[in-house]
Amino acid sequence: MKKFALAGNPNCGKTTLFNSLTGSTAHVGNWPGVTVDKREGVYKKTPEHVAIVDLPGIYSLSPYTPEEVIARNFILDEKPDCVINIVDATNLERNLYLTTQVMEIDVPVVVALNMMDAVEKNGDAIDAKELEKRLGVPVVKISALKGVGLDELMQRAYDFSSQERKGATVLKDSALAHLIGDVKIALDGQDVANPLFHAVKLVEQDSIEVEMHKDTVKMVEEFKATFSDDVFGDDFEALVADARYKYISKNFAPVLKRREEDKFVSTKSDKADKVLTHKIWGIPIFLVILFAIFHLTFSEDFLYLGAIFHLPSLEDLGLLDADGEFLNFGVKLLACVYDGAVFSPGVIINKLWNEILVGELFGWLGGLVEGSGMEAWAVGLINNGIFEGLAAVLSFLPQILVLFLFFSILEDSGYMARIAFILDRMFRKFGLSGRSFMPMIMGFGCSIPAMINTRTLADEKERTATVRVIPFFSCGAKLPILTAVAGAIVVWTGAGNADLITFSMYLLGIVSAILAVLLMRNTTLRGDTPPFIMELPAYHAPQFKNLMIHLWDKAKHFVKKAFTIILASTIIIWLFSHFSFAWKFLEDEEIDQSILAQISMFLQPLFTPLGFGSQLGANGWVFVVAAIAGLIAKENVIATFSTLAACLIAGGAISGAGLEVEAEDGIDAVRAMIDATGIGVPGLIAFIAFNMTTIPCFAAVATAKAELGTKKAFNNTLLFWVAASYVIASAVYTIGAFPWTIALWVVAVAAVVVCIVLRNKNLAKKGA
């Protein structure tokens, strides 16, 4: 089978072309030696099937980034039968820069002129025949987005691939042409394959080549000693780059016939940018778009129809029976779309998935297991351990995908690059770039897509810092903890406002995140925020097929995680909470004898500065158990309170009179905990703060592990979460319980700031 490689700039439509060519045959593997994913597929419409390899998006074949090295080594070592070089016709000169380098390799090259439709729409024209003549390799006009010209492209590549092709260079007119020629002859003499390409790179004093041809590089150095250019001095690399661009402008660019020559025409994209990146209007417009996305994903009152028209709830319509249950399945379905207000699309999908699909499926499976006559522990393991764990993880799926869909649309349309640009100045003050805004704001929905989205950050340290603070942006699953505890405080003290408490906790999270980023960027993750250089691709409508492929990848990845690492972790936690050290199976109500409870009692004193440790006495371990259970999924925190409350009432520790501990809002369960332990308001608030900022759920931890790449970064991140939550919750508790300690905290913070500033000054001096 023949093997073709796709090479081209980022944003040139390479992935779209790859998806169109290979369809369902595409699969993802690893590049040998490195961890970069390798996309491969098969094209079947040529006489003989062709394997297609999608090379990483690159601007050049220099050795500066891993993508460049991968692409270069693949073409040189794996010797594909043909390289299809995708060229963005709307930015011809810049894209041909890579083409001139690929053409120096002894491999058949076919140029695919992509986005021809956009060029023609502008009223411009490219003479492909003429370009073909000048380049000396086949040129085919295509539109990857619309699927135009793909078969012709593959047919010509297929025909051309059986021919031998010798490398050709555009540097024959440059001042370095003689040197390149001499080096090439020397390399030829040493039987080096692709002598022209290696000669050019050696002249550029490319680090890989210098290493490979230590003897021959002397020729370049000798010549360099006698050479000096007016503009570039003896920087051969810049000289070569300049010579390439000059040749392209002179010889290739004229094939592009512009509608109006010599006059600058601003495109539709430029006009849109005048508004969307406007000094004043840019940010408000972005905020409106962001609000719309969150409204479409999370709002339970779509377009505020319910509030405006005072729509009746299902109960008002008489569709519920006396117990508040749905009359029939039809009503249950209706309840996924409407209940006193029309739900937003994201909520509808979420409810259909969770209430109907996942709920019914696991309910049915659970019934089967219960009726199977297995022993009690086995039923418990399957139903409470495995099924509940899986359902909790899978329940995130719809909202993750919906959020991801919206953000993919922003990315594909080209708007995301503008957002990064307009926010860059503000974020620079915190030591981050504008791109880190998006992942942070996504964190309010769910940490998982937010962490995946940090891939758009170029700098590793910035990315690590962002991943670490994402959980501080309190996600949807943490909201029940906030509402239950805040609700219980209000009911118990008879004062305060639950909404206000909830809102302040969100604010606390944001402030903590900003402070943590500032701290990290000045200590462990120090480094200059890289200069902001970003291509602003022309706006275009995202393609449905691409969005779906994107989503499918995400869903696959997530489900794979749910059924492996997360499932395994759930089983282990279940084991710990349902067995005693004596290896005796425990019913739910006997959780106080479990290994988990025993460990929690042992750990309890550690939480004394946080307000839910030793001072709470014999029953204080319940808060520790809940926090540990929250590591699986934050939904478990309140669910564990319910279980524990039932256990404490059964054991006679508290009366439980007037408390509905099974209620879904969890308020009474929290009140039972208050009764049993005598915890105060500062301790409760500290408990929320701890859960908000500590290690997030298993699914998020697994994602962080994948995204952070190195083991070390991941371990430090876990440590960071533990330390941050401990410090923040301690501060909340001590200041709340003993207001005078605020002075101590101020002094401590001031001392830390002074130390860091002094140390950084010292380091700067040493560096200078």
Partner: protein, 70 residues
């Protein structure tokens, strides 16, 4: 003059780039080279959007002070 001060929508020529090698190389790959043509499309508070070849590139304040045009 640095590009941050340059007039909007006028064809300019790059005469000097003051930056480290890595940044320079990145700019080169995007078509921002010595002697190359560049047009400022918009300039707000130091950050600029420029047109180089047929691409649009956004640069922050730090860089826009380091690219000199004539």
């Amino acid at each position: 003059m640095p590009i941050v001060l340059a007039p909007v929508n006028a064809a300019l020529k790059i005469v000097k780039i003051v930056a480290d090698d890595k940044t320079k190389k990145h700019l080169e790959n995007l078509g921002v080279t010595m002697g190359g043509e560049i047009t400022v499309l918009s300039s707000s508070g130091g950050a600029v959007v420029v047109k180089v070849k047929d691409g649009r590139i956004a640069l922050d304040t730090m860089l826009s002070k380091k690219i000199f045009v004539a």
